[in-house]
């Protein structure tokens, strides 16, 4: 199984763990993640405006590179995933955006959203399969109560992301079960932690993040997992709850017995 891989800016710097545990796990599962050679930062937040073109081009370049490589495009960070997937949807559904992007980039061949963008969690669910993943686990995380955190970006808008039911998701819960641990079901798993406010008004980020982490704690979580570097930062640095938060890939590498190699 070979895929193009878009790591994104934060996975090269502050979120190296998210990246290296993913690579080690993928290798253990026989998945080849080929990093796109010339990817550029997606910008971290999807430009919603109809007339924003230049801010969408870094995503379009990555999408076209994956198409030309003849592979699906795998993302790891929730934000990159959200941006790439929503821009891909624009390229497919919005003729104006697609035409303007093609003009800007002087494309020989039009691009209309042909690339399939999948998050690594979707790859594990749909291509590897959680049953198969379970068989590959050598160090099951038996008895650990883990709160899956979706936040805002993985699931919404549901009609574009098509990731899971945006109001009642199960993918991270099932991932946790495959690793042998116990998922905590809690109310705020798809509530925004306010991470985007951290530079603008830190009090907001602190308040929202604390509410989210407290809710996980109140439901018996010993640990929370996320795919978003900004959520991890906000829920550990800005929240006052003391609940540990890790990347989902770290637990995966641990359960697959490759954490030390990463």
């Amino acid at each position: 199984m070979t895929y193009s891989y878009y790591p994104g800016c934060t996975l090269k710097t502050k979120a190296k763990d998210l990246d290296r545990y993913a690579r080690a796990s993928a290798a253990a599962l026989g998945i080849e993640l080929r990093e796109l050679p010339d990817w550029q930062c997606c910008g971290g937040v999807y430009p919603m405006a109809k007339d924003e073109i230049a801010t969408k081009l870094s995503s379009v370049r990555a999408l076209i590179a994956a198409r030309d490589a003849g592979t699906d495009l795998v993302t790891m960070c929730s934000a990159c995933h959200n941006v790439l997937k929503q821009v891909n949807h624009d390229m497919a559904a919005d003729e104006n955006v697609a035409a303007k992007a093609a003009n800007y980039m002087k494309l020989d061949e039009p691009y209309r959203g042909e690339t399939k963008v999948i998050h690594f969690l979707e790859l594990l669910r749909d291509e590897v399969g959680f049953d198969e993943l379970k068989k590959r686990v050598v160090k099951p995380l038996t008895g650990v109560k883990i709160a899956p955190y979706y936040g805002c970006l993985l699931l919404r808008p549901g009609r574009v992301m098509g990731f899971d039911d945006p109001e009642n998701p199960v993918v991270i819960e099932n991932f946790i079960r495959a690793l042998g641990a116990t998922p905590v079901i809690w109310a705020m798993r798809n509530e925004c932690c306010g991470g985007y406010a951290t530079l603008e008004k830190k009090e907001i980020a602190e308040k929202k993040a604390t509410a989210v982490a407290d809710n996980a704690l109140a439901n018996g979580a010993q640990l929370m997992i996320t795919a978003c570097p900004l959520c991890l930062y906000n829920l550990t640095k800005n929240a006052q709850s003391g609940l540990p938060v890790k990347y989902f890939t770290e637990l995966l590498a641990e359960a697959l017995g490759v954490k030390e190699d990463a």
């Binding site: 937040v45 970006l153 808008p157 945006p166 008004k201 900004l230 930062y233």
Partner: protein, 128 residues
């Protein structure tokens, strides 16, 4: 006060049709940052529809929307209020001197763990 030109511009930037709104208030009820916003998502929809946009442009709410897509996801009429908030924000920051976040403000806000994602997204939202 009705400002037709501005209204047309906001509708064009956002692609939103505020007349689809049935005034149910669900967008504001679900907004995680309701308490921090002077104007709530349903008010953006209503005030843009009425062409009453200047108060929105002057409001802190432009900077406190978390871009979490909860109002977009849960609006039963697919109005997508967050797109209107973004359009009004763009109308402000695209004007000469309208940037809300300036590069010189950044160093004071940094710490060792702050992910790049926080910085690039803040610039995308608050500066042109």
């Amino acid at each position: 006060m009705e400002n037709t030109n501005l209204k047309e511009r906001i509708l064009e930037i956002s692609g939103v049709n505020p007349r689809k709104c049935m005034k149910c208030g669900k967008c504001s009820a679900t907004c995680p940052n309701y308490d921090e916003m002077e104007y709530h998502p349903h008010q953006f929809v209503d005030m843009v529809e009425k062409g009453n946009i200047e108060p929105l442009m002057a409001s802190e709410s432009l900077w406190t929307c978390l871009s979490c897509f909860a109002c977009v996801e849960r609006c039963p009429r697919s109005v997508e209020p967050a797109k209107l908030i973004e359009a009004v924000r763009l109308a402000v920051i695209r004007a000469q001197g309208g940037n809300h976040l300036k590069p010189q403000d950044i160093p004071d806000k940094l710490d060792d763990e702050l992910p790049q994602q926080a910085i690039v997204s803040a610039f995308r939202k608050y500066s042109k």
